[in-house]
Symmetry: C4
């Protein structure tokens, strides 16, 4: 891992994403690390997401003749080199000055879609201009006209899908950030929003972080299904609803014409104590019964995790924090290496499981084990 | 948290109840801390109550249009700002000289019922005079006339419900208190009982605490359902039976005209090794099938815990030790802050779960996970 | 605990059996401690027995009117002050010079049967002469005539039941003893056996302990059901088969006229990795369906454990190592205190669970929880 | 353990395989230790295999009259002194200069089959010349003619069965080896392969170990069922397929005429995160329903583990790493002692479980417990 190793000369080379994580933690300002790494409340869900992967065992197939599996997948109409997209994550200039632009270039290099956050610290146009396959993630704003404007800009810039986040009626209290009095540095701002209010570092008197105050001020608090219907009519882009755990909500999304739902706990950063994404996945796959795609988010940390999600019926996964680790360590090169490592791991896992392509992975059996600490 | 922070100037501000707990532990005499914090026997139930909350996962709803949920609830006829009442707890002057009077004032400020213990260290009349919504908790005394007198005083003082404790045929051995030779200081006495015998600090020769000896001397040892029937006829106040874990007992309580039952392990302080309250809850909700309200006690430590209890069918919860932590740290102000923090957490949790009111919370799905240490 | 405290003057008084255990451990020669405390193999079963109790939760009843429960029980025809008998344990002079005689006197004082081991270090006649209610435990010897002689002596001495141990076709390797080169000191011998060969301290060349070598030499290796039938015909005493885990074996025992079976893992000292006794109990209760009594052995460490065994259908329990702890610390007085503490705990637990007698305990519900470390 | 103790003079004698493991770890070059001990990826499967044994409880039978069980078994036509074969393991000269020749001699002494790895560091002819009962394990090479040649050599040398490894379409990344830059020392080479390319110590630029590079170069990457059919036709030796976890694959193997399948996770060294072998076993036993033998591999560490595998339907087990520990400590003598210890433990376990022979073990009941750390 050249780019990453450059930043951690004395350290051992990174052979797993855990290595990358440790190096990123060592390299980052602890407050930024906490912002990236932390979850909400007591971080039960953060831990539970990982436990859900750890306790799920795969049952591989043998002698299938697979030597070099095809990892490519169609995700909501976008061709991806593997069934993975870079998750939408805010303010990536916190990690590296190249921010979203560098990350998107790396995604492009590795052939996976890059999802632009409403709260990106480069403009969506700048990011789309990298030539990456991009999707645009929308936090619905209080000002409906601005939402329409954002969607229009995303269409104009060539984004290939619109992803509406459903699980942020407000930003949950992330206690690490509250304790750290975390606020954005001046040079990091929400580049897509004209007022740039997020750049004002301020801490709420009632124990919330500056980001939460900003989010609360800007975002529409009572988003509902009619808003989704309006967006469905507003754009011809594929529509993805992100942040669903209850199968009834997934069914509603499919009925309203969503092209995909993302089963997600928001990386353990919204309601603490919820069902881990991986545990919710099979019920949601059953509920939509093929009427829309199902993507999984939250907790994916290596190639076998991707394979586990596929085995439980996901079409693909979103891949979040590890991309930020790579970005922190090596900018574009670091992200590219992280994605390459994931691809290596997934290819190996598919080969060892006898899966020639993602569709074969969906036929693997699994068993839930008990966690062994 | 102003009042609490005053007491812990050098410490970090309290952003969670765990912070409040740690500060209270640091501030209190270790023997008083043990009296508050401890459970009976090997404290299995104390731990199991928390584990039961930790292993229960919520399945939130999205896009429900809820921006600011209504947390208000009717609990046994009393309107509460949230589905929470302050649990009955003895001898609150151990924590702060303002004792029950301060705590009740704070409950009143935050709009939640305050339950007066038979063993309160201010008289029930003094506590009721705060203007708080109060319920009176009765430990049946050996002298039946005194029970009637206590009930009459509670009615006279304006208490809005009578709560009979069913799970203390004797006080369990709490080993921390036994080891500490714990006894009440002279200024703390059972103000509702005329002999004030509890003020005599004495330790039983056979390894029991002074409190246990006193309890044994004063309380009726063989309470039974006919006693409940007598109380039901004695008062027109709503009647609540506290301390039920077996659905058959809940059914009997409903049949005898109880307005509510409290599923409780007595905070892990009576029979050690029992089923955690949260695990017993669904069976009891099913057994009473709407014929009386079901409240949950034991182990509630944050807003998501309240939401979990509602999701399993509780009408509301009793909230105990954290109130004492706040009382220890800041008197009335400390309790008010603890209750405000719980309200903030519950409001956030309901918003994030898409629940516009407690009734919506009752329709949430849940899943039991395995504990991850 | 006067007798125990005499031995541990500087230590805190014992308020639980865990305290007694810690004091005994501190007081004993580490090799003797290991002999008492250890299990076979990797000691999985030793741990699993305790975990089985810890994970079983009781569902208490309330308002039953029980103030002072009757703990007395009939165990295989013997009236006991509580549903407990002192388990058969070898070589008790290792713990205290009074050995089995002191322990039996204490059992008599507390009104519980004392089970004399074939390998007792006082003769069965000496032990029976204490006036305690005694049962005789038989390890079948290679020499059939000696078995008959032992049974005859037990009858003659007034023993009230014959307990045949079924789970020692050979003595399992107990690695602590093997590592310690454990052997009996000269003054401790198998007083019931005329050759006294156990007094020769020798260590087997193939990594077994001296006790194992002796056991192998003296005991019949291929005991079978016809041997039980022969014993059934040989004596009119109640016959108890100890060491059963498979329900099919319990059924056979009942069919052959056994008056009781003891569900046991031999305290985790025979086959390592077996089902814990408490887990095996319900299946065995169902299999014998009242045709013989079912006793539980292995892992009972406090009064709630006894109540748990009763709730799962046991008629009573055998109580082992804690008796040895008491013996080590205070001889007869120490054992009496240990038994008194257990009785106090059981009485409290039955009161708190609303059980007026052991039969009521059998109607309690239970739930299996997950272990919380 | 004479041979082993010679190597660890100051240490306590080995009374369990855990002792042998600790001594081997202390004696070996850490990189060789990691090569032997490590698994792939995050080593989840390595841990899960052991947890699966630990959580399975046996239900022993009593009074069966078994004094000295017959441990002998027929494994794929070979008579073995116990239902155990030495697993195929590569490059045994890494542990001791005597390598496979010493290990095979010890296996012969103890009467168990020795399985020769394709990657043995002595030639299969040298190993077979020891007179041991040998089976030959085949990694299918890219060059089909060489496969035929290897099979022919194995037949010629007197190997009694052919075992085809199905779970190595590529060698998984073993992170310990990658981090250690592990490569074979010059004197250790794949003696059965004429080019001996494995002796070139080189490390892949992309973070793989030298062994993985070699494996990838030499082995056929896309092995499939038609290859098995070809081998079935090619030889009259009993055919064993090793590395099966999915019952559908086991069924296919039986249908194609395999004489046995080996349920295996490759010792936790191939796809990480798979179902532990022991958990997969019952489903596979059911799927083949007696049409071929089922052997278990991965995680066997003592005699009760063997008994557990038999109880779940295995005909026998492969025994791997402990043999290497013995080899490292004492060469032929060390392996003989390890096998003797296993035999002692198995004999004891069968006696204590009342099993007169392996068939009786298959009738034991089991119960799955929760793990207790």
């Amino acid at each position: 891992m050249t780019a990453i190793d450059n930043r951690t000369a004395a350290a051992a080379p990174a052979v797993s994403l855990d290595d990358v994580r440790a190096a990123a933690r060592a390299a980052l300002d602890p407050r930024v690390w906490d912002f990236v790494d932390g979850g909400s409340g007591t971080e039960h869900t953060l831990v539970a997401n990982r436990a859900a992967f750890a306790e799920l065992a795969l049952v591989p197939r043998v002698l299938t003749g697979v030597a070099a599996p095809h990892t490519a997948a169609q995700l909501v109409g976008t061709t991806a080199a593997m069934p993975v997209a870079v998750a939408p994550m805010a303010y990536q200039r916190l990690l590296h000055d190249g921010g979203e632009v560098s990350a998107a270039r790396a995604a492009s290099t590795r052939g996976v879609p890059y999802i632009i956050s409403t709260l990106s610290s480069y403009s969506l146009e700048d990011i789309a201009a990298t030539g990456a396959d991009t999707w645009f993630q929308l936090y619905c704003l209080r000002d409906q006209a601005k939402n329409d404007e954002l969607v229009g800009r995303a269409e104009e810039a060539g984004c290939q899908a619109l992803m509406v986040t459903a699980d942020v009626p407000l930003m949950a209290r992330r206690l690490r950030d509250v304790r750290n009095g975390f606020a954005l540095p001046p040079h990091v701002r929400a580049a897509n929003l004209d007022n740039g209010s997020s750049s004002k570092a301020h801490r709420g008197a009632d124990g919330t972080s500056a980001l939460a105050v900003h989010t609360s001020a800007a975002f529409a608090p009572g988003l509902s299904w009619p808003d989704v219907e309006r967006l469905r009519r507003r754009t011809t882009l594929p529509l993805i609803i992100k942040g669903i755990l209850d199968p009834r909500d997934a069914r509603t999304a499919a009925d309203l014409g969503a092209d995909a739902v993302v089963v997600s706990t928001h990386g353990g950063r919204q309601l603490d104590g919820v069902q881990p994404s991986l545990r919710a996945l099979p019920g949601i796959v059953a509920a939509v019964s093929g009427d829309c795609e199902v993507l999984l988010d939250s907790g994916v940390r290596d190639g076998t995790d991707v394979l586990k999600a596929l085995a439980l019926g996901a079409r693909g996964v979103l891949f979040g924090r590890p991309v930020l680790w790579g970005l922190a360590l090596g900018g574009e090169g670091g992200v590219a290496e992280v994605l390459a490592l994931l691809h290596t791991e997934l290819t190996e896992a598919m080969t060892l499981a006898g899966c020639g392509d993602p569709a074969a992975a969906a036929r693997l059996r699994t068993e839930r084990l008990r966690p062994h600490a």
